[in-house]
Symmetry: C2
Subunit: 249 residues, 2 copies
């Protein structure tokens, strides 16, 4: 049996998110599994590196599946991109070791979040960035970023209720890049809790707008309470950019 690793790009606008639900029509996983069944005749479950929320985009989601198909990976790519809806693209298909597991073997992820920071909205950015019309104090936001980098219990920056699993994560990189009216937040870390990136962005925006002080970050860490953080920034500004694996194949 072959184990196939896929690198997938999608415009999440029309979908309920990565994870297949009852109705496979509206999820990325469901769409891809449908095409695999068409392609191989096999009924297969694919393993994603993790879920993405409804409306969230991806430039480098990773998934794997096992198949007896005689097709080459090049033929698979062509089949996927012919039959998938145009807002889902398989960028790569590679045969990997049978032990490769897209979720268990992921050692880190890179996300980006885009904010359109201009009183005038953008007809083109509207679907891929959050419109924040008020001016932002980037210095304060960068101060807050420094507090977030490192290893912390991020439960207060997540949509999780109490859980037995560890909510300690490490953010290795958190930067804000400004290009004209577009702010691009980049997050690199070993893993991210449910809605963690969006809640952190929402909190940073409230700090930039002066509604919260940079010390709000410390409050969330100290009290571990979601209420101390800012609003959750909307899903359509978020991109899963890359999933990292040890250089095993």
């Amino acid at each position: 049996m072959k184990n196939i690793k896929l690198t997938i790009e999608y415009d999440g606008k029309r979908y309920l998110g990565w994870q297949r639900l009852g109705n496979s029509e509206k999820t990325i996983q469901g769409k891809i599994e449908q095409i695999i069944t068409q392609m191989t005749g096999e009924k297969i479950e694919i393993v994603g590196s993790g879920r993405t929320d409804g409306g969230t985009h991806a430039k480098g989601q990773v998934a794997n599946f096992k198949t007896n198909s005689p097709l080459s990976t090049q033929e698979m790519i062509e089949f996927f991109n012919r039959y998938l809806p145009k807002d889902i693209v398989v960028k790569k298909a590679e045969e990997v070791s049978e032990r490769f597991h897209a979720r268990y073997n992921a050692v880190g992820k890179r996300y980006s979040y885009h904010v359109w920071n201009n009183p005038i909205p953008s007809a083109f950015e509207r679907q891929y960035s959050f419109h924040h019309p008020q001016q932002l104090d980037l210095d304060k936001m960068n101060q807050a970023c420094q507090k977030l980098i490192g290893t912390h219990d991020f439960i207060g920056f997540s949509a999780l209720k109490k859980t037995k699993k560890s909510t300690v994560r490490t953010i290795n990189e958190l930067t804000i890049h400004q290009e004209g009216s577009l702010l691009q937040f980049t997050f690199v870390g070993d893993g991210f809790l449910h809605k963690m990136v969006r809640i952190i962005v929402g909190t940073l925006l409230e700090i930039g707008a002066g509604r919260l002080a940079p010390t709000a970050i410390d409050d969330v860490f100290n009290h571990k309470l979601r209420e101390h953080a800012g609003e959750t920034a909307p899903a359509h500004g978020l991109f899963l950019e890359e999933v990292f694996y040890k250089s095993q194949k």
Copy 2:
């Protein structure tokens, strides 16, 4: 009476083009006139710098209209962007001399055309660039660009039938900029005939793919025949970037 100059951005995907037709619902001009009527109570016709085809985008279309409205231009911008569909944005509104006419006074335009040149399609560029999977010979395309720059009768590069109006135009600048898989064609000229940019791009792509020689450009100029040029590139890769006026106000 005030004369108001608007600078307008739109994602042309959902529209039949700039020019109002019977059914105002589906054109940019129709949508904007509808909002002006809501805003001022006046039934007004706006003058655009020129038409854009169905599906074509704009980052800097210019139009003007005359009104007795007491609203400030700032209030107008806010009204427009509150009530227009989100894929049409008024970026600027300025009070200009009563003689200003968006079409007659335009002295030049800048267009861009975007091509996604990669065997793998893009989930994000698909709506804003033409997917051309085959490799292109940029040197040959640049040779052809040199032949197009200058003053010529461009009738063979237009969708026009015989016409009494002059079809001589001047292209001042025609460049191809490559950034990763994205090719951006930039056209600056004193005016462009119907579908001229898209037919030139289609011809340049056939030259790049080796189906036509760079001398095909000379053939079109010599014979003045549409048949000697390439296919019309699709509308969704085209952006009206800027309209130039003499610095009158």
